[in-house]
């Protein structure tokens, strides 16, 4: 799945988020992969994805503008690649979670 920051994304339904002092742990029960969100801003953005039409506007709402967005977009690309995030619509077919 190619990462397009100008469309909507959401957490895969098999992904759990555990808040931590440094940010959060993400665990995907389907792929059994663990990821780390290494600051609280990205946690806030991940948790607010449903309220925004695309990732750029979710970032702006969290106060991350312009060139600041670069590292965050990279991070979201990694989350898409590891299937932690899936397109908001149409709903992803079940088979997309290879294990």
């Amino acid at each position: 799945m190619a990462f397009d920051p100008d469309r909507g994304w959401r957490l895969h339904h098999q992904v759990a988020v555990r808040p931590e002092p440094f940010g959060a742990l993400l665990y995907h029960f389907g792929t059994r992969k663990l990821s780390f969100l290494k600051n609280r801003t990205i946690v806030e953005v991940v948790n607010s994805l449903a309220d925004h039409p695309d990732i750029r506007s979710a970032l702006r709402a969290a106060g991350v503008d312009g060139t600041q967005q670069g590292p965050y977009l990279h991070a979201f690309g990694v989350l898409v690649q590891s299937k932690m995030l899936i397109p908001a619509e149409p709903p992803s077919p079940e088979g997309s979670t290879t294990s």
Partner: protein, 410 residues
């Protein structure tokens, strides 16, 4: 992922410990149909104080509340517990994923089909040789055939991505490509881990652990071919052999910081390789001053608080590799009788070997569930007889771990 805010490096945060473990090993029983010579938990006979089904479910409830995403269930052989599948179902229904290690004894066609139907259960088949000859010398006669039968059943049932779990020894280190081929053949993933001198492993470690040349061979194999091979972050003591980051994983001892072990009677140890009174943090069933329950032990046990304090680099402080290996594995040092603030027995700089050549006093665990036909008789006779009681009193660690070196100077 990225960090733009000025927060401490992740590894430092892990060293200070998290509110809940990232991953947790739970040995459900000391009973086992096999008697592998290197068994970490000296398993064989069931402990009469083993947690009941309800006690296990209560622990699962607590793990769910703490958002412990998954548990690595082992033993002993966990599938010989009559309530094993009930507990697996209970855990997955309560959002605690299960990965269990087995020698394959109960993975028949029906069980394989049931496992294939679950998204939340991961199966790890133990195999310590790519041939029956090498495997059975360590795990016992017939154990290779048993493991292969389990892999065949899982594969035939459509179970995706089982794990083949290999402890790397002097005798199988040349078989890494063969293990990988075996895993590929069953649509499985290879997982290789370090031989620890824990449990009965203490009796065979000197003869079974890979030689210095083999450690380099293993490191080079991991760097060249390890991309799709799991290691449980087990070989961080080798990370000084190459560039930082060449080995996947955190390269950190997580004992009591991000991992721990729950044993079959509810005792909590710092890690799966540390079943010894010195690494016993507390018991889930009994309140020994910091509250009962797993969360209290994890967050408040004095041992765990000690482990989350900055540890002394000791004799390794002036070594240029210290940032990579962080002095190696605590349990490997402890059970080979080396100082806790000195080099790992398999130190890549070779500092372990002269230390091992000296007179050593190898600490013996207070627990041994070996059946009488196996294990080192001298260890069993040295151990006081313990009457089975429903709840055991907690034996607190006598000293902080960083002071172990004061006890057995090399």
């Amino acid at each position: 992922m990225t960090a733009t805010a000025p927060v401490p490096r992740l590894i430092e945060q892990f060293e200070h410990g998290l509110d809940a473990p990232i991953c947790l090993t739970w040995e459900l029983t000391y009973a086992c149909n096999l008697s592998c010579v290197h068994c970490l938990s000296s398993s064989g006979k069931r402990d009469p104080r083993e947690l009941s089904t309800q006690q296990c479910k209560d622990i699962i409830d607590e793990l769910e509340r703490m958002q412990v995403f998954y548990v690595n269930i082992g033993g002993g052989e966990p599938t010989v517990r009559s309530d094993f599948w009930e507990l697996v179902d209970y855990a997955t229904e309560h959002h605690v994923g299960v990965k269990f290690s087995t020698n394959g004894v109960r993975i028949d066609e029906a069980v394989a089909a049931k496992l294939a139907a679950s998204d939340y259960v991961d199966v790890q088949i133990s195999l310590d040789g790519a041939t029956a000859e090498i495997n059975d010398a360590v795990r016992g006669p017939g154990s290779f055939a048993m493991a292969i039968r389990a892999l065949e059943n899982l594969s035939a049932a459509g179970f995706k991505d089982a794990k083949i779990s290999v402890v790397v020894t002097r005798h199988n280190v040349d078989q890494l490509d063969d293990f990988k081929a075996l895993a590929d053949n069953y649509g499985a993933t290879l997982r290789i881990t370090r031989l620890r001198p824990s449990g009965r492993g203490a009796d065979v470690w000197d003869d079974l652990h890979p030689t210095a040349e083999q450690q380099v061979q293993l490191y080079n194999w991991l760097v060249a071919k390890g991309e799709r091979v799991l290691t449980g972050d087990s070989f961080f003591h080798l990370s000084g052999l190459g560039e930082p980051g060449a080995l996947a994983g955190l390269n950190l001892c997580g004992a009591g910081r991000v991992v721990c072990l729950i044993d079959p009677v509810g005792d909590v140890y710092a890690c799966p390789f540390a079943i010894h009174e010195r690494f016993l943090a507390g018991n889930i069933l009994s309140d020994t001053g910091f509250g009962a329950g797993f969360q209290n032990v994890w967050q408040n046990a004095p041992l765990f608080r000690e482990l989350r304090e900055p540890q002394s680099a000791g004799a390794c402080g002036s070594c240029g590799h210290y940032d990579s290996c962080r002095g190696g594995c605590m349990a490997a040092k402890f059970f080979t009788g080396l100082p806790m603030d000195g080099p790992d027995p398999e130190c890549v700089q070779g500092f372990g070997e002269p230390a091992l050549a000296q007179d050593r006093d190898k600490p013996k665990s207070h627990l041994d569930h070996s059946r009488s036909s196996s294990g080192d008789p001298s260890r069993r006779s040295a151990r006081p007889a313990r009457a089975p009681i429903p709840l055991k009193l907690l034996a607190m660690p006598a000293k902080a771990p960083q002071k172990f070196c004061n006890e057995s100077p090399v």
